[in-house]
């Protein structure tokens, strides 16, 4: 392994710090900005006693630093509060919605990465040709499209006008009931394969295509543009020039040598774009009725369901941190100069 145990420990410590930081920021946002947080916390239709209870629960009678400390304690104990909307613990809610989002995001990132790198390589190889210009314009447009609008348009065109693909929901209830499909991992594509349930697999696949494509637009354009830029940069680097001068075949130079140098920054930028993508997922899930954490968070947000919002925010932030760690690990695996 090109990374040491200390590195992992360090990253874990860092993760703890990040979570602390996120908690700190959310604490400020939820406890210090609203004029009377207990009113928000107690939720609608709360009685005076309930509000008083919320006050106690939020420790608002204590000094601010004690509040923060107790807030931390609650969080670590897995006590993320009860969602006002669903009346169930936020922790379980978040866990149950997470897989749907992950499935969507993973498929989207997969498409974005593979297609993006390929497109970028083509653009770099055909630098300054009409293909390159075309790719450039398409990817600039793609990176500029408001994802929510794209979702609406795609849904309208493919779902309504053309009727090619289903444009809502994760899987069809009828098929689920007909075939007796039971989610295990929560990743329907995987679950259906495990159960050998072709009908559900096909249906789930059909339904994930549009939202995943919409969601992948931004990371796709990003990785295509990054690939092109980095590849051209790599092409101009001495180590590629020397391989050319030494007469190695283009295929080897491109796919064995240059691609490896290109991939790290591309992955890094994708990792960074995770933050945008997950928020994109909020909107895409909203439009495509996708029961993921984005949908959950957006709904919680609209009804000011604070415990739920915070739960989502922290979960996403942890994932963001993990993904950036993974990017670093990949970097260290690919690049021997990086020792972690």
């Amino acid at each position: 392994m090109p990374f040491s145990r200390e590195y992992i420990v360090k990253r874990l410590i860092l993760l703890v710090f990040v979570v602390l930081g996120v908690l700190f920021i959310t604490f400020i946002i939820t406890r210090l900005i609203p004029a009377r947080p207990e009113l928000l916390w107690a939720g609608p239709h709360a009685t005076i006693e309930q509000i008083e209870k919320a006050r106690k629960q939020l420790h608002l009678d204590k000094p601010v630093y004690v509040q923060f400390f107790l807030y931390l304690q609650d969080f670590i104990m897995g006590n993320w509060g009860i969602s006002w909307r669903t009346k169930s613990p936020v922790f379980t809610d978040v866990l149950s919605t997470l897989t749907a989002t992950l499935e969507l995001v993973i498929v989207a990132f997969f498409i974005a990465f593979i297609v993006g790198v390929l497109t970028g390589v083509i653009a770099a190889l055909k630098k300054y040709s009409w293909i390159d210009d075309f790719i450039r314009i398409v990817t600039v447009i793609g990176a500029s499209i408001p994802v929510f609008w794209l979702a609406l348009i795609v849904q309208l065109v493919f779902g309504n006008w053309l009727g090619i693909l289903p444009s809502a929901k994760r899987v069809d209830e009828w098929i689920v009931i007909v075939t007796g499909f039971k989610p295990i991992t929560g990743f329907y594509l995987i679950d259906s394969i495990i159960q050998g349930n072709l009908a559900v697999f096909v249906d789930a696949l059909k339904r994930i295509i549009l939202p995943a494509l919409v969601l992948s637009t931004y990371p796709f354009c990003l990785s295509a543009r990054m690939t092109r830029a980095v590849m051209i940069e790599v092409f101009s680097e001495q180590h590629v020039k020397s391989l050319i001068a030494w007469g190695l075949p283009e295929r080897t130079i491109l796919f064995k040598y240059s691609l490896k140098n290109t991939i790290v920054p591309v992955i890094a930028s994708l990792g960074l774009s995770f933050g945008y993508t997950i928020v994109g997922a909020f909107m895409v899930e909203l439009v495509f009725v996708w029961p993921g954490i984005g949908f959950y968070a957006a709904m919680s947000l609209l009804s000011f369901d604070y415990p739920a919002v915070i739960g989502c925010v922290i979960t996403v932030a942890i994932f963001y941190c993990i993904i950036n760690t993974v990017v670093d690990l990949i970097h260290s695996i690919i690049d021997p100069r990086v020792r972690l």
Binding site: G43, P44, K87, G159, P166, V202, P291, F295, L302, F304
Partner: protein, 526 residues
């Protein structure tokens, strides 16, 4: 349209389930209903919100009420009677009813259920306020002794808090919210995922199936009924058009005409008892001046609001009690008359309009409220009243409004507000929104002893002397009409869109039970 993802041998609404208990595979009828909002709790005693949608199918009250025909339909009670002064009510219960857990239904269940609801004191428990005690006469007779006269038949038919459930189950909130049910109704709860879907399955032992003449049952009722949460109207429309769901609760209203023309669909348009009002902060200058409030009432383009906000699918309100309900009178419409409004404003001392900008709050995400608010703002600007419209989450909005009782200056000026009845009585509207005892929802901060006396007297007369009661309600509403603590805007006309093969869809909708589809009366024709 979306191609159906079902295997070719399976028709959209009939599916084959390889249930292990039934050796031959049977064809089952399935209906998917799209609900705009997610479900709330599963506890029949405390639920006071959206879960009514399926509670109505899983649980039964003593009576159902059909407001359009103004008649009660027996449910768990076959007959009932009240004493002359309306303080003692006796219900004769149906025999041969079993709960889903197999427990036979008796008077004990009635007593225990209602007492639990009263004890927990949450949600709609207040409806039982008149009840002094419940006495079991015999297994199939139960008597309610009241503290003061009340229309207990209406209360027993309430859409909230009137459910009867099995006395043999744990009946704790946790137990219910784990997805258990203790009902006796035509359907039982199979899956409880309040954010995404609720699945109900036909309860074969329901007494109603065996009673061919019973109007609340259909031989071709769906075997499986799914409540699917689909959070926006556009998608609901798309899904019902594509046949992926069978009934859409909310669709964009401008599409109604187009959907009516679709031979595959059936559009049901029925009045509802939901209405929209604009509550005015009567404690905050300059709105504490009744002349200003009247001016505002005359400056609102009621007809246009109905046309634009609801695409015509509403009726301009006349008083806070919605059209079709007892206690509704046609005499309380304000005239849209800008001249009159300007005159009133001048009389109040504001000839050139108000110098203060009024804050209007509405629930974010509700397109009808948004459009209504925008129209009000646009129109009031014509008489020199500037309005700042603020979309807020309901929780925020309500928290802000609550502060108004302590400090009206801090609160909003105008509040766009829906109300729908807990059970069918004008009192529910008049008390909750305008009585100073109702701090939670009287968000006009309106206090008028004369009005309060009138409605209190009226409600006590409801069970005894209906016409006298209505007379008092009329007087009370007249006071509101003149005082203008709120401007009633429109009474809603509800729209449901279903697939054409759903018979009796019209019958399955009852304005007394908002958003409910009585699945047991549906007739699935395919």
């Amino acid at each position: 349209y979306v191609s159906l993802p079902t295997p070719p041998t399976v028709t959209p609404t009939t599916i084959t389930t390889p249930t292990p208990s039934q050796t031959p595979s049977v064809t089952k009828k399935l209906v998917i209903y799209a609900s705009l909002s997610e479900m709330t709790t599963a506890d029949p005693s405390t639920e006071f919100s959206n879960s009514i949608l399926w509670l109505c199918l899983v649980y039964e009250p003593l009576l159902w009420y059909d407001p359009l025909e103004n008649k009660f339909i027996p449910a768990l009670a076959e007959r009932w009677e009240s004493s002359k002064d309306g303080t003692v009510w006796t219900f004769y219960l149906r025999k041969g009813v079993v709960f889903h857990d197999g427990t036979p239904f008796t008077a004990e269940a009635v007593k225990k259920s209602i007492e639990r609801t009263i004890e927990l004191g949450q949600g709609a428990a207040f409806i039982w306020d008149p009840v002094e005690k419940i006495e079991i006469v015999d297994d199939y007779t139960v008597t309610f002794i009241l503290k003061y006269p009340a229309a207990l038949d209406s209360i027993a038919a309430s859409s909230y808090g009137a459910w009867i459930f099995s006395p043999r189950t744990p009946n704790t909130p946790e137990w219910f919210n784990q997805g258990n049910d203790a009902g006796s109704g035509p359907y039982k709860l199979v899956k409880w995922d309040p954010e995404n879907e609720v699945i109900l399955e036909k309860f074969e032992d329901w007494w109603g199936w065996k009673l061919p003449s019973y109007e609340m049952a259909s031989p071709k009722a769906p075997d499986i009924f799914i409540v699917k949460i689909v959070k926006d109207a556009v998608t609901q429309e798309r899904l019902v058009v594509a046949g992926e769901i069978d009934i859409a609760e909310y669709i964009p209203l401008e599409d109604v005409d187009r959907l009516k023309a679709d031979p595959n669909l059936k559009v049901v348009i029925k009045p509802s008892f939901q209405n929209l009002l604009m509550l005015i902060n009567t404690k905050k200058p300059p709105l504490d001046n009744v002349l200003v409030r009247r001016a505002i009432a005359h400056a609102i383009p009621y007809e246009d609001i109905v046309k634009i906000a609801r695409s015509g699918l509403a009726k301009v309100a006349s008083g806070p009690v919605p059209t079709g309900m007892p206690g509704h009178f046609e005499d309380f419409r304000y005239r849209y008359d800008l001249e009159e409004a300007r005159r009133l404003l001048a009389e109040a001392g504001y000839p050139t309009g108000l110098d203060k900008t009024l804050v209007l709050v509405y629930t974010a995400g509700d397109v009808y409220e948004q459009r209504t608010s925008e129209l009000i703002a646009a129109s009031l600007s014509k008489i020199g009243i500037k309005v700042d419209i603020r979309p807020m989450s309901w929780e925020e909005q309500w928290a802000l409004a609550q502060s108004g009782w302590e400090n009206p200056e801090m609160a909003q000026d105008l509040f766009i507000f829906y109300w729908w009845p807990t059970y069918i009585t004008p009192f529910d509207f008049l008390y909750n929104m305008f009585h100073s005892g109702s701090k939670a929802f009287n968000l006009c901060y309106y206090e008028n002893p004369e009005f309060e006396r009138l409605i209190e007297e009226a409600v006590s007369l409801e069970g005894v002397d209906k016409s006298k009661a209505l007379e008092l309600y009329y007087k009370a509403q007249k006071i509101l009409y003149e005082d203008v603590p709120a401007v009633p805007l429109w009474d809603m006309i509800e729209v449901r869109v279903g697939r054409a093969y759903l018979g009796n869809l019209e019958k399955a909708v009852n304005p007394a039970y908002p958003t409910v589809i009585f699945a047991q009366v549906l007739s699935v024709e395919k």
